[in-house]
Amino acid sequence: MTANSTTDERLADAATGEQTDEPLLRVESLTTEFDTENGTLTAVDDVSFTVDPGETVCIVGESGSGKTVATESITRIINQPPGRITGEVWFKGENIAACSERTLREVRGGEIAHVFQNPQEAMNHCFTVGWQIVEAIRIHEDVPEAAARERAIELLDRVGIDNASARFDDYPHEFSGGQKQRVMIAMALATSPDLLIADEPTTALDVTVQSQILDLLAELQGEFGMAILFVTHDLGVVAQLADEVIVMYAGKVMERGSVYDIFERPSHPYTQALLGCLPEYGGAGGGIPGILPDPTAPPPGCRFADRCEFVVPDCREGDHPSELPATAADHTVACIHYGPEGDAGPIRDATPGSDRGHR
């Protein structure tokens, strides 16, 4: 409907800009620690992943898994101190983990945009939403105000705000929760980012609104050609949206692979247990007994060992297991049972939902 020159340009950009093999985003051994009164808390522990142009990668995990901190560490929007971020973040061939705060500010909100869980807190309530979008555009691009204004209205309309040209002058409190999230998305898209980091953008919303927002994101991704790094705890949302999935637990990556690998051939006992909690996968099996390990003093060996039903003494020794291939080349799992001496058979047999066959 609103297809116009700007959109086309963006598509062209996306097409020409990243034709190399280099992924859009490559995170290498990212570690984020916080100094607390009880010691050093390792929220993200040596995590690596890549995001290709136009791809949707979902980081899924429960609270305390470090998924949010991991994404916030990418553009270093974590306060340092108390935070401490190490590792490399290669974005379009540049290590933004090493660059200056000034350069980073240009990337942040420009080429990498964020959408947060709570739009309430992410907006400035003293200004109209239109003004805020115009501002977002003009921080990163030198365009006259009138042009920015036109683009802002276009964006508002595009994200599904009715009567966008009039609502341009409304203040954030005049929008409902779902509309606010739409406005946040419009704001994020204002600078036509190459990567959109969406941190639980639908968690605070009702289910009907959630599905509206997910549909919108999928549509916009097709239109703008951006990559999405989506953080969520909701496996249903992951299944609807993701191309690639990263399963995190206690600051570590437990399993990664395509969305089909994860849902149809879940290989890590944690992934299996997580899926097993879903009513659709056999349901109330009693959840996962036990609690997260203490993030200030993680136990040796596998972080999940204490709650794992396939635990063997070796699980509790050494470092967290390294990622090993599971069912496909790009489907890896951090579990010693998949190593040369392990036997993954029993785990494979326990795949939740396997008895039902594939739908």
């Binding site: 009039a166 705890h233 959840g287 739908r359």
Partner: protein, 463 residues
Amino acid sequence: MSEPILSVRNLKKHYPVKRGLFNREVGRVRAVDGISFDIKRGETLGIVGESGCGKSTAAASIVRLEDPTSGAVIFRGGGRTEESPAGTTRPTNVVEFGGRELKRFRREAQMIFQDPASSFNPRKQVGESVAELLEVHGMTDRKQRRAIVEDLLERVGLAASDYERYPHEFSGGQKQRIAIARALVLNPELVIADEPVSALDVSIQAEILSLLSDLQEEFDLSILFISHNMSVVKHICDRVAVMYLGKIVEIGPTERLFTDPRHPYTEALVSAIPTPDPRRRRRNITLEGTVPSPADPPSGCRFHTRCHRIIQPAGVSLPQDGWRRVMHFREHVSRGAIDIDGIKENTVADGSEATPAHLEAQVREEYGLTEPLPDERADEALDRAMEALVRGKTDEARSVLEDRFTTPCEETEPGFTEHDDDHRSACLLHSEEYDTRDVESDAYRTGDGSDTGGEDIKTDTRD
């Protein structure tokens, strides 16, 4: 035994909106506006709905945390004829309970709350928080209280020694277990669980839900389970009631309601559940906008402002999505939500005056009404309204639109239609007047936008 343990009849809870120096009542927020349902012994009834639909207010009104505006809540049926001390028949209507009866009722209906973080007094040992209920009801023996609570803590999967710990020493899931213990300690027959797992991680949710159903079985509890999470409700409830803006729109056995939703709202809710199956990325029914304010609910069927199956008046036949857009536009015009001056100001970039044609194009684009409507008379009415609107004659635009596009849904409040055993829904599509009528294409279900091939809405009542 077939008698319901709890019958709610036409329960209403309105909050007055007061303004001015003398607190004059200027309106009412109809949080709960006439709901009726029964809960049978040992049954789990779910109430689902989006935030603001009144489900939590309903729960609070049932247990008299809030005093209902009107209606009846009959606990343990009319068969209860126990003599009260005064020699009169004890009332069974919770709404009329006096202090002593209410306190007695407290022993029989307890509640579990949503937020584990705030559901315990942070300065009290959790055991004391649970034991306090026993004390309130007259158990003076401290040791006995402690023994009972310790036993109960073990039953909900904690240790007796947890009695002395403080709330901040527990995780969310553990606190919710203690909350369950607190709800059970008076040995109630009915437990009302208000979003008991919404604040928990999925792995913990499953634990708490299975604990709840184990305890239900062991102690023959009836549960009123309130949630916004459709998939949780689907797996724990025997029957489900769907609420929208203070009213129940559909109620029925869980299985039937999920597989064959008869109210468009239920249909939309069910379709919106994200399925954890990457191969079934289906197109959802998209509901326009958000829930209207309960202070000023839409007339007729409250869902008509968002419904994807809204009925067209006689003489209009448009494809459903076009019709929906027209109605949406009409609603905004009626509300005066379209600010022509604002549009004028914002659309013209170079400072020149916006022409009416320009404005009309802008409005049409924003409401998705750029193409002419297939129905000539409808299109003509829309054109007239547009023209009036851009010339600033909002009233004229409103009357033109209201004249032409008035749906029966906003004029008639639908009653309940029985579908089969215990499955009822309140939608005009099921009333006799409309059930033979052809409704235009079911575009959302088939997934394509084509406007032909009208498919009948299933309206037959199976036997």
